[in-house]
């Protein structure tokens, strides 16, 4: 019964989305204030949006309930759950599969629309109606996809004795929450896109629109940043070879929306503060949304990772591709039709904060183009009969061509004034970061002459940018510094920290692959590691061989490291569980492999100086975003509150008094 209720709720939500789209669109066709019926219809859109969100959420709650109860008469539950699973994984099972994750998408999107309908009062009513109609259009695609080709509530008969369970490797608390994090980011960008469409249709592209859209972009960007950082760390410790970024299509699918969102965030900032870059901001809104659709759907369709995954279910894959074509094609068409009607906004000098933001926007767009091209190009060549691989040798140098100059501009830009400035005015502030960059450059060349060009430049610029990023705080009263300024400083510092970690990891890591007997001592970098013992251990659904390593840093007291080689029985699979030890100056990474015929164990050891900075930096970037978001929301409330009070005072005062 629960499943049927869930399905009914889903249909109702879809019907309301249709109503939201049609009533919104129809109410916009008339001329202002001439038609009472149209005005009434427009008044309906907000409540409908709220209700749609509630219904979608209830439908999702039904699915979660089915998973928690392990109702095996539902196909999805039988395929993805098991009665013995711990509660948290039963619950996470709700979205740990294709259908459930799509339902989560639609739900979060519905709730976001409801929130917009409830709280957004800064924009003209027509713009909000258009925004909510656009939102409903996007939602409808998801509802159609769910109802026609991915019904999560389908029953199965006969009812199986127990469920299939979940791949043991996926029973990881980090993995349970990783996909939803990215989805929240994608949904935030779709809301930003709806705002852009609303503003385009009603010709309201201006600072008010940018201010209304910005919190959504910021929120999306924070989730994406956290998602990418967490995903990278997961790959690092789980895959057992010390790599943290593979330019894998799935990784790229999360990186591309992030790049677009970063650009959009900054150009929305220019639009909000200076009423410039109108068309450009709208275009980035369209691009960011397209990238999140590519992120969701191309990964879901499986077309990128494996042709087999796609061919297994071509119907669903085709549905996805058509949906993708409608969304992106529609968005681009609308942009093409309406872009000319957007006046361009204010101009600015070549040396100004706007100009520096424009430079970095262009650089981010170029990097985005490179990643997109590198990800999709193998598909194109496959169509011509040649399979090619595009990997780090393409992405790294091509990306760095734009990323490194971007870091220089990032150091200077926040110091410049809006509209017009001179380099001479900010020159003195830049002496310190400039000198630091040169000092690191020279010192690294002297101490590590064999270093590659990219790590060298990355390291030097990271140090310079780290110093430059805190300069905007100099001479300010720190207690009265607005939160968004803090946010900018922390995020920029975080980026410098992350780049420093990446450069250090690729330049200074030492690797040691050895075969060792119990009792042997091996050195890697400053560490000497004794293989003290190898013993069998058992877990709930695996057995493992666990090495006991005594690792000593430069002859200090030993630390115990316990890497495992785990063997799962169902499905039969062997995995390496690495053991990490973090010091302030880096991380020791140990893995135990197989036992050789000569009775020696294969050990893989890495000393990676400053590698944790990569993820620490990522988290700092997200923290900066969170600070800015809180600051923006508070100032938005304050402005609304003041506007309301002014309006109230006007009402209280008799009209005669005004004259």
């Amino acid at each position: 019964m629960i499943a049927e209720i869930g399905l009914v709720l889903l249909w109702l939500a879809a019907a309301l989305a249709m109503l939201q789209l049609l009533s919104g669109a129809w109410s916009l066709t008339g001329k202002d204030g001439t038609d009472e019926l149209r005005a009434e219809t427009a008044g309906m859109v907000r409540p409908v949006a709220v209700m749609q969100g509630v219904l979608a959420a209830l439908s999702f709650a039904m699915l979660a309930w089915l998973f928690v109860r392990t109702d095996l008469s539902v196909l999805l539950v039988a395929l993805n759950s098991h009665s013995d699973k711990p509660f948290i994984f039963k619950l996470a099972g709700t979205w740990g599969n294709h259908e459930g994750s799509m339902l989560l998408w639609a739900t979060v999107m519905g709730l976001a629309g409801a929130l917009v309908a409830l709280v957004e009062r800064r924009l003209p009513e027509k713009t909000i109606v258009a925004t909510l109609a656009a939102q409903a259009f996007v939602s409808l695609g998801f509802y159609a996809f769910l109802l026609f080709s991915s019904n999560p509530f389908e029953r199965i008969s006969p009812v199986p004795a127990d469920g299939n369970g979940l791949n043991p490797l996926l029973q990881d608390i980090g993995l349970a929450f990783h996909p939803p994090t990215l989805y929240f980011g994608y949904v935030g960008l779709s809301v930003a896109f709806s705002f852009a469409v609303g503003a385009l249709i009603t010709r309201e592209v201006g600072p008010a629109f940018a201010r209304a859209m910005r919190p959504w972009v910021l929120g999306a960007w924070i989730f994406l940043t956290v998602g990418i950082t967490a995903g990278s760390y997961w790959a690092y410790y789980e895959l057992g070879w010390g790599g943290w970024w593979f330019w894998d299509p799935v990784e790229n699918a999360s990186l591309m929306p992030w790049l677009a969102a970063t650009a959009l965030l900054h150009s929305a900032g220019v639009l909000a503060a200076r009423d410039a870059l109108r068309t450009w901001t709208i275009m980035l809104g369209v691009v960011a949304f397209s990238m999140s659709m590519v992120g969701t759907f191309l990964v879901r369709s499986g077309i990128l990772t494996s042709v087999h995954a796609f061919a297994v279910d071509p119907e669903r894959g085709s549905f996805i591709l058509v949906l993708l074509a409608i969304y992106i094609g529609g968005a681009l068409t609308l942009f093409g039709l309406r872009a000319a009607t957007v006046t361009e906004g204010k101009q600015f000098a070549a040396v100004s904060r706007e100009a520096s933001l424009v430079f970095n926007n262009v650089a981010l767009t170029a990097i985005l183009a490179i990643v997109l091209l590198g990800t999709l190009y193998p598909l194109v060549t496959e169509a011509f009969g040649t399979r090619v691989s595009i990997g780090p040798p393409y992405f790294n140098p091509m990306g760095a061509v734009f990323a490194l100059p971007m870091m220089v501009v990032m150091a200077i830009g926040p110091l410049l004034r809006w509209r017009d400035d001179r380099f001479g005015r900010v020159g003195r502030a830049l002496i310190l970061p400039g000198l630091a960059t040169i000092a690191v450059l020279v010192a690294t060349l002297v101490l590590a002459p064999g270093i590659g060009v990219l790590p060298l430049l990355g390291l030097a610029l990271a140090v310079g940018l780290a110093i430059a990023s805190v300069i905007p705080l100099f001479g300010r009263n720190l207690r009265r510094t607005p939160l968004p300024i803090w946010g900018m400083v922390v995020s920029h510092l975080g980026l410098a920290v992350a780049v420093g970690g990446m450069a250090s990891e690729s330049a200074f890591s030492t690797e040691r692959l050895v075969a060792a007997q119990v009792g042997d001592t091996v050195t890697v970098g400053p560490w000497s590691i004794e293989l003290a013992a190898v013993e069998p251990v058992a877990g709930p659904n695996w057995t493992a061989l666990q090495a006991d390593m005594q690792a000593s840093y430069e002859g200090g007291a030993p630390t115990q490291m316990l890497p495992q080689s785990r063997t799962f029985t169902s499905p039969p699979q062997t995995t390496s569980e690495s053991a990490l030890h973090t010091r302030w100056n880096g991380q020791l990474y140990t893995v135990i492999g197989e036992l050789g015929e000569d009775g020696r164990w294969q050990l893989r050891l890495w000393w990676k100086p400053f590698v944790p900075l990569i993820w620490l930096g990522g988290l700092l970037v997200a923290l900066g975003g969170a600070l800015a978001l809180v600051g923006r929301i508070i100032s938005g409330w304050r402005r609304q509150y003041q506007a309301r009070r002014i309006a109230m005072r006007r009402e209280e005062r008799p009209v005669g008094d005004l004259r």
Partner: protein, 150 residues
């Protein structure tokens, strides 16, 4: 155009999917002991660094987007051993890459070979850059202090 491309890609993918599923691989090598240099570094650190750099840009054919330098798969181990032995024998990394490409096709190398097929990889970013510059060019004021209100 986009749509046509998508459909084209779809057709191609389906065709290749059908072809590859017929030729199911027999994985008999798993039981053999790993090749000598799969998990062993070369004595000479310079040679090892060369080998490492090359291995990081070769695709592990049975994995998902991993290089042979970071995979546990047996084929990756065999290829690592091949690469190290050839480096030890004095071959240049690019010679080894070419040998592997001749044997397994372009797919094995993460470094795209610059030829007409891959020109767009370098041309399109340049075009995007040009487009962005054209779009934004008029945003800049030509002369200083001319008011600048649009």
């Amino acid at each position: 155009m986009r749509r046509a491309l998508a459909v084209l890609a779809l057709v191609a993918v389906l065709a290749i999917g059908a072809l590859t599923s017929i030729a199911a691989p027999a994985d008999a090598q798993d039981s053999l002991p790993p090749a000598p240099y799969a998990y062993r570094q070369l004595e000479d650190p310079e040679q090892e660094a060369k080998a490492q750099e090359l291995m990081e840009t070769l695709r592990c054919l049975t994995c998902q987007s991993q290089s042979i330098a970071d995979s546990d798969a047996s084929i990756a181990g065999d290829m690592r051993s091949q690469v190290r032995q050839r480096i030890m024998a004095g071959e240049e990394p690019e010679e080894i890459r070419q040998w592997l490409i001749d044997r397994y096709g372009d797919y094995i190398s993460y470094k795209p070979v610059v030829k007409p097929l891959t020109w767009p990889l370098y041309i399109i970013p340049a075009l995007v850059l040009l487009l962005a510059v054209l779009l934004l060019r008029r945003r800049f004021r030509r002369a200083r202090r001319d008011g600048g209100e649009a």
